[in-house]
Homo-oligomer: 347 residues x 2
């Protein structure tokens, strides 16, 4: 995994000769340091990081509990948008001014600038909102792939999901709505529940219900007006996932992309044998790696998402913009339960 540039060094002449980065030398808390940048090699680009979110998986990586861990010391952050400032002599597809995002996890985006290999980034149109670009590569990609790769969903079909207010959940609501797919959105009860209903419905949510409602007869009423879901999306695990699974139609799927509850999923044997429910997982990092040699797959996914953004059908989740120097507070906020706004470092 690339945390520092692998580009060739060259005699110093860059305008930016160092950057400020959030580095962790051991698993625990990152610290702000000043780092020299290597020279911009022939196949490299010098970029200024514009904005980089703090995602839960970034925190798990720093804590050392994530499925992939970098060699240390490492720059934190796996997502974000950068602007190209300078390109090496053999760089073909990028030019100064272009916006780029990482192709893979592990780039270390929590820094002001970086020298990166051209092949480690992919361009985006630079006329979409900054926060949409900064948060495009993980959650909306996860949502689009899950809505595409597991069940053949047609307009009028239903998808049920928990964690509907998460960044993935909000992207699912909007992308599904754009495709004419109904969504049943399950959220935890909270003081401002009716406000949340209104907000998610304004995004295109067909139904917004509390976790408890999954076990109540009123859900049967709901299924008089919309078909049972072909697809359930699970970002929670535990009982919540088992409850989702109960409502999936015969032959449908439940796809797990997160486990906020830190509990495994309990699957009744009869759901597998007699209802032919398929229980699977999705990890966008693995998808990107599986498709790393297929330029078209990533490009066409990003094009589809950017088109939705341009049409106003896909917006970034609520974000709090914070300066790099305030990262400590931002990390603390990102770890709170019921976080309503994503923390985004703006450089």
């Amino acid at each position: 995994m690339l945390y520092f540039s692998v580009c060739d060094h060259r005699p110093f002449d860059a305008v930016l000769f160092h950057c400020t980065a959030l580095i962790y030398r051991k698993h625990g808390d990152p610290a702000q340091v000043s780092m020299n940048l290597p020279n911009v090699g022939a196949k490299c680009v010098l970029v200024k990081i514009l904005a980089a979110p703090i995602n839960p998986s970034d925190i798990n990586m720093i804590q050392g509990t994530y499925a992939i861990l970098p060699d240390l010391p490492a720059v934190g952050g796996n997502e974000g948008v950068a602007q190209v400032l300078e390109v090496g002599s053999q760089v073909k597809a990028l030019k100064p001014g272009d916006w780029v995002i990482p192709r893979d996890a592990g780039l270390g985006t929590w820094r002001t600038a970086a020298v990166l290999a051209e092949e480690d980034v992919i361009s985006l149109p630079n006329d979409i909102p900054l926060l949409s670009a900064a948060t495009l590569g993980v959650n909306p990609c996860t949502a689009l792939r899950m809505l595409t790769d597991f069940e053949d969903l047609k307009p009028g079909d239903t998808v049920i999901q928990n964690a509907a207010n998460s960044a993935v959940g909000q992207a699912v609501i909007q992308i599904a709505a754009a495709k004419g797919i109904q969504t049943i959105n399950v959220v935890r009860d909270r003081p401002d529940f009716t406000t949340l209903i209104d907000r998610l419905k304004a995004m295109g949510a067909s139904h917004v219900i509390k976790e408890e409602t999954l076990r109540r007869p009123e859900l049967k009423e709901l299924f008089k007006s919309c078909p049972r879901p072909k697809l359930a999306l699970n970002g929670v695990g535990g009982k919540s996932a088992t409850e989702l699974l109960r409502h999936v139609q015969v032959g449908g799927s439940i796809v797990t992309y997160g486990g906020m509850a830190k509990q495994p999923i309990t699957v009744p044997v009869s759901a597998l044998i007699f209802k032919n429910i398929k229980v699977q997982g999705f990890w966008v990092t693995q998808w990107k790696r599986n498709h790393s040699q297929d330029e078209g797959a990533l490009r066409s996914m990003l094009d589809e998402l950017c088109s939705l953004i341009c049409q106003g059908k896909l917006t970034a989740p609520a974000c709090s913009e914070v300066g790099l120097q305030d990262f400590g507070t931002a990390l603390d906020k990102a770890m709170q339960p019921f976080t309503s706004a994503k923390q985004v470092l703006v450089m």
Copy 2:
């Protein structure tokens, strides 16, 4: 579901004008009764049932706890082999002397004779062992499909299964061995464990281990000599299934066909997201219904199995042959735990 013949009546002239059948009028215990047979309609066949096993699902059906239940009264039994005695004037593919087995569950095989629609049965070669024919339609079909339809297994690949001494388990061992696929066979500890190891190894089992071994370091030793399984087959559920799942290789599958432990499967979220394990189920009855319009699919599966039987590579599980009149004792024995022999009613 067909429990009694749907064939047209015609003036009585059959040689066999009645049969003895095990019927249940309400969920509970079946009783032996004498029944008149309908006449052999133009598209029907009169058959003598030769042998019919007592499978766990037959008992669940009688108890009223199975996923599909017949209208009552119903003749018990879903599997068995019969010999054609007489065919109707429009019957095309069958002639007296042919052996046939049911195409679908629900035929009611625990009886001495029946008039059946030609389309409800399919022929088998009549030179294979009687007990192989009588037990072919459910368990070996389940084993073959699970080894074929979920992972692309190549010679040298590994499959792990629990309930390895069950009828499905024994078929898995033999079919896998015929294909050059290694099997790790998990069984419950028992007094005659070494005898069981010898018996399963003689069938072609690569490894036979106790449930407890799944949690022990010696399993790591085993994986130095054979690859981690691409496929796990689960007939038990509960902890046993979760233990199997832990050993499946990245991107592999666990397929559930039974739930003897009457416990759901606990699936860690990380196995789904980061190991991309697919958790699915298989029900041979549904497979047959899905392929009911595709004559070739069922035929080619039975041909493949009969070919293995003729080559001596697939044998029936240990069976106790009992007369129809002794069905009460046979049902009691079939419900015992650690049943080592399948009860087969021989008419």
